[in-house]
Subunit: 273 residues, 3 copies
């Protein structure tokens, strides 16, 4: 399925996404879901997690600002999504920064079959190191460059195979793969890392994309990554003199509102390797 | 009391509003309270809920992202506001989407006499269906149109009468009533629903308006609804090429800063039926 | 150390700041940390608080929207920062508004030696009144003016001495002192108080500044206060017709992105008394 069609399916299906997500970037996550054509419901109390998952089409679990009340909700929601066949995305924010985050992400990966895991290379490596007794040794670099691209691609492919998911590992070059076919995406701007939450926003976009394109999770995840990168470029070009990261944030979400399928297709820098 | 006078009273009184509100839209809620001339205090821990209510002039309870710690705070704060004669607003966000939300909203309605209940038609209907043994059957449409306006108005009137509150049910046509007189407000833009939290923001505005106009809760709630709708129109007209929902959010809050009583009076599309 | 050098050290060191902060303003806090050259990690679960503190360079504790789970995290993180010699900032948001806030702030001050305490005069006075058996009587005015500046300066000096910290008390005139040398800063705009979270943002900036300038905490705190004030002025001048507090918020964070050391040095209105 083409990137263009993936985008158009989101706009047509208006997928409703249950987000258990950190409170730092939650407002931007909600607005970018609306911008892309989806709808958000945020709910993190264990007493309603499963019910909310059930009324939604897809799930996005983001472990930033996790706590002892929300971790059970993540597991309950993840299992419910699995039982109902709903697409789900895991964003292991800060895996490696604390045992609680690493353990929670590993526990979620063990108990839930996520459609997509979306993180940066450091987070994915931290998960592989922590779970090393069980798997791949994470000796790739944290920063993907043209030089180390083959090794990084192999690492991400093995992660995807092991967890039976699409892995979307984003950075200077974004890698999206189901273990076989791999998209290397060179859209986006380095200045996006000066805004809090562009990763969280991408994870939510990815949830909307795989929910509206359930039989084409790999292409849908790649389309979401292309969309975010392209929005980063368009948003950057929209910046006026004197503007900085706060306005850039607005321009990116605005761009997601306005990008159509044709633009996504023609402008995204997306190579299959 | 005129819409104009309601607005001017808010700017003169600077009402301090205790918000127990969801973490998705809380920043915009705080900024729109400041924009209208009020001040926010957010506090949701049961150990301080009553004390914070007591130092404020009014209360806004919003059940989005409710949890087992904040639900008791909502009840404590609501009862304290009642005991002190402080105006209060309930926003039953997502009532109907989970039993926890529906039950919490019903429990709040049973134990607290809110000055205003502000929600969309689906939420209000969900409350009436869930509480159906005790009341009105909710068979009106979720979307108020010119055609079904009389039935919708009757339904909202009966909700207001039953709960002894002003009901402000917002959508394509907003209905605000105390069970008798009813304001049908046709301000606003459909694009406002592409921004997260315009409903939450309106609920907080309404709390500020009824707090600064305690003897005219119906008119004050109608004025808040008109203000939000007019801000949605002015904000929409302020949009530049390439902008989307993130900038629109800023324009709306900015407009609330700048709308004066005369503009509210002359521009709001507000009919009494 | 000069204001200019303090700023440049932040841009060079990219200090990573652990924030336990309220959910109202947390997104702006994260973005302003990125804007100034730092990086944020938000983490408030007791199960990871100490570990996150340990991987960061500095700590910012803000008691807005505190609750029974986050209060222990504040204490754990504060003690850990102390044990590791990491700079730390306390923002006693709303001290005086509830016993929970006052007691939590006092308990933190008792158990943790903060590098800087940053608040408004009402909050600092509330702490001194509540702890009066142990200290200074807080009979200064809540609003610092040219007339009462000497008394206010004496009060802030005594607070700093008593707690062994730098005190940064902000308002119409900002006072920053370690108990001896005192900076009186007259930058900023009164309209900044119409935006939620400018105080929270300043506290986080201060944490970044003292972390990147650990041997010059007083100068670093003064530089952060000057930066925020100057950003308030530049942001105000950037406002276009029809804009209000929501856009002003963006302009201020944008300005923090763009202010360089030379501009800070030449434009800040900072007197040593």
């Amino acid at each position: 399925m083409s990137l263009e069609k993936c985008l158009e399916n989101v706009r047509a299906a208006h997928p409703l996404i249950h987000c258990i997500t950190n409170y730092v970037t939650v407002n931007d996550v909600a607005n970018i879901l609306l911008a892309c054509g989806g709808s958000p419901i945020m709910a993190d109390c264990p007493d309603e997690a499963e019910e909310i998952t059930a009324v939604c089409g897809g799930l996005c679990v983001n472990i930033g600002t996790l706590n002892t009340a929300t971790i059970p909700s993540m597991l309950l929601a993840g299992k419910k999504a699995g039982a109902l066949g709903h697409p789900s995305v895991l964003d292991p924010v800060g895996a490696g920064a604390s045992r609680l985050r690493t353990d929670t992400a590993l526990s979620l990966l063990d108990q839930v079959r996520f459609t997509v895991v979306r993180g940066n290379m450091s987070e994915i490596k931290a998960l592989e190191r922590a779970g090393a007794a069980r798997g791949v040794d994470a000796d790739v670099a944290d920063r993907v460059t043209e030089e180390n691209l083959p090794a990084a691609a192999e690492f991400v492919r093995s992660f995807a195979k092991k967890h039976g998911c699409v892995a979307a590992v984003t950075g200077a070059i974004d890698l999206v793969t189901d273990g076989g076919k791999l998209y290397a995406i060179r859209s986006g701007r380095p200045e996006m890392s000066n805004i809090t939450g562009t990763g969280c926003q991408l994870s939510a976009l990815t949830a909307a994309y795989v929910t509206a394109n359930p039989r084409n999770a790999l292409e849908a995840a790649a389309a979401a990554v292309c969309l975010m990168g392209l929005a980063g470029e368009i948003g950057y070009n929209a910046m006026r003199p004197g503007e900085g990261n706060s306005s850039y944030r607005n321009h990116i979400i605005d761009a997601v509102c306005n990008i159509d399928g044709r633009t996504l297709k023609s402008e995204a820098n997306c190579e299959i390797i």
